[in-house]
């Protein structure tokens, strides 16, 4: 789509030319900690359902280990390593895997899974943690969970996301990127235009054509729709209906022909 939003309006200023690669995979880019461990996981993941290589899966033992700071504090270095591993793993996981739910999970299950994750990783529970680095790691884990929850709880977003991760570019689509507003708007406008047409005459002929189709007067429908298409040659919806009418005419002709054929 050629609506590259540029970074800044004023010419004299150095302009940032932003999202040219719009829905391109935003590589995991939180500055700082997660990166060294994050590299190896960049390979596309032919992962099975639940790659729980993690010794303590997120939320698997919510009440015992993670929430208690007392438990975390002495074990800080190992806890840090565990979180690094978890973060690295999350790089290659889709949102279902991050929340540890099945692909077909119901909204209630997703909510429950997110609450379970929150119980284990919500930053409020680690407020008193003296180790800032560890705290940041927990925060990173939790941010991925809220992100997953935000996408999966919304039907429209979820549908789009599922389609994306099941496609060939799965590795690039693990993190949901919303279609840019302008693109969505253009698409919606196009759809509306096709539905109602852009010219009054085209609209009129199209309406007549539809009425004829409903009355099963196919050749009359064809005439009206042909007129409609002349007014709006690019309207896909009009063309579709025209094709439909023509198909019917062809079928009828064929039937008639067969009927007259002497066997």
């Amino acid at each position: 789509m050629a609506i590259p939003p540029k970074g800044s309006g004023k010419p004299p200023k150095p302009a940032a030319k932003p999202p040219t690669l719009s829905p391109a995979a935003p590589p995991r880019s939180v500055p700082g900690k997660a990166s060294p461990a994050a590299e190896p996981s960049a390979t596309p993941p032919p992962l099975p359902r639940m790659p729980t290589v993690d010794p303590t899966p997120a939320g698997a033992r919510p009440a015992t280990r993670p929430p208690s700071i007392e438990a975390v504090r002495p074990a800080a270095p190992t806890e840090g390593a565990r979180l690094d591993a978890l973060l690295a793993e999350m790089e290659a996981q889709d949102y279902f895997q991050i929340l540890k739910v099945q692909k077909g999970a119901s909204p209630a299950e997703i909510k429950r899974a997110f609450y379970k994750g929150s119980r284990a990783y919500h930053p409020d529970r680690y407020y008193q943690l003296p180790d800032l680095e560890l705290k940041e790691k927990i925060n990173l884990v939790y941010k991925r969970m809220t992100e997953a929850y935000f996408v999966l709880r919304d039907d429209a977003k979820r549908t789009r996301y599922v389609a994306e991760i099941e496609g060939p570019e799965r590795a690039k689509k693990l993190r949901f990127t919303e279609a840019s507003e302008t693109e969505t708007k253009i698409a919606a406008k196009k759809q509306a235009e096709e539905e109602i047409g852009t010219t009054p005459k085209g609209r009129q002929f199209y309406a007549a054509g539809i009425a004829e189709i409903e009355a099963q007067r196919w050749s009359a429908a064809e005439r009206s729709l042909k007129m409609a298409v002349t007014y709006e040659p690019s309207n896909a919806r009009y063309k579709e209906k025209l094709a439909e009418a023509q198909q019917k005419i062809y079928e009828e002709m064929k039937q008639k022909g067969e009927a007259f054929k002497i066997k």
């Binding site: 939003p5 540029k6 970074g7 150095p14 940032a16 932003p18 500055p31 809220t146």
Partner: protein, 536 residues
Amino acid sequence: MADNIAIGIDLGTSYSCAAVVQDGLPMVIPNEWGDLTHASVVSFLENDSVLVGNNAKKNIITNSECTVYSAKRLIGRYYFSDEVKKAQAVMPYQIVEGENNSVRILVRDRKYSLPEISALVLKEVKEIAETYLGQPVKQAVVTVPAYFNDNQRQATKDAGRIAGLEVLRIINEPTAAALAYGFGKALNQKIVVYDLGGGTFDISILEIGKEVFEVLATAGDTYLGGDDFDDRIMSWLAEDFLAKTGLDLRENKYCLQMLKDAGERAKIDVGQNGTADIFCGGICQDPQGKVMDLRATLKEEQFNKMVGDLVQRTFKVCDEALQSARMTASDIDAVILVGGPTRLPVVRNGVKHYFQKEPLEGINPDQVVAMGAALQANTLLSAGADTFLVDVTPLSLRVGTVGGYTERIIEKNTPIPIDKSKSFTTSRDGQEKVKIRVYQGESNKAEECEMLGEFEFSGFRVGYRGEVKIDVTFEINTDGIVKVSATDLATGKKTSTTISLSSGLSEADIQRSIQSNQATQLAGHADPSSLPALPG
């Protein structure tokens, strides 16, 4: 008592309130006169001392030019914003322009920033708490309207720092109210918090469980509050007076203050008794020097008509929130009212009618927010506490693009904390820096959004245009505060800069303000350190 203690502060437009958790239960802290709420009014006295609270409120009329109130309406706003212009017309104190389009208040030849004014209110509240608890208070959770943008949140946080408080967390007022309502009750409900304060209106829809308080949607109007109700009465009184005597009371700031005071009292009387007798003795003089009084009677019906459209405006916002949460009014299990104006029958009945539900009784609309904040403060202090809040960002986060447009990065009502990244590239060969403007709002036009700041990222590898890729991460943390950082991925080097968009106060400004705040003597309190020095 525990050696570190954290209080919850509801820093309101007209009144502030503090609470603390003792033995697991939140309680509101009274001042030495037993007042539970303290006017958010700061009066600068002639002897360089500062009077804050209910006593300062009396000075709005007598010392109007040096008494600052409703500072929350101005905090975190740009000088050119509508709210500031409106305030300039009605406020008796002087509102002037500071650096970078910020707002300053000029009192006795000294310019104060808004965080400094709010810090004085916080300092008063802090001292009240210290007197009551008998120990220093250094930490607090401060609440803000849910619909506050990043600038306003930052400025509030700065105010806390200036007052010598470590602000553990900024939480949203409706969320705090819900916390106070549902804490320890093991409920499983969908609730609405209808928060009509002195200057702002917020609505939040929450799902509360045993340990989770999840905000499903929030919406608001930062230009709508109880003050607007007062304004309506004021205008009515002034018009009436003008018609009768030919004198416009609004031309004189002293008269205006008396009118405002009368308006506020009339509002409360009408709410309580269904009628209000208004009397302002000696409000002005006619050209012959004859002293005039203002008398009027306001009936409930008349008042309801006056403010009907304001109440209706809140329901438009409710529609929006319900829509965001994909719910209808009938899905709601309980309605909580917060803020003084919700005591008015016209508001109460409106809410009842809209949600088809009697609002909950037994919740004090002035105190519930502070109590929720205290609970949250307590949660943060105690290790491994078992409640957690999942709040949302009230406004969409955007970046500026070409031609005065913006592109949405994070949608409103997204749960926080969250981050989103976007790749940017250079537009010229050899470009050394990129500039990114960050906005908050719901319009794709930059001018209709609130600009949070502009940040410049440099120090990446210089290359041909389009070749250098910079990854910009936008983060909203648990305070609802925005952080932007940039990373150059092309070189594999992590040259990242993290810029918190500031509230117009530089770090040096804040440090200076902290110094001056500490030096400020609040009148009406015996400063413990000065006690021994008093002449016996």
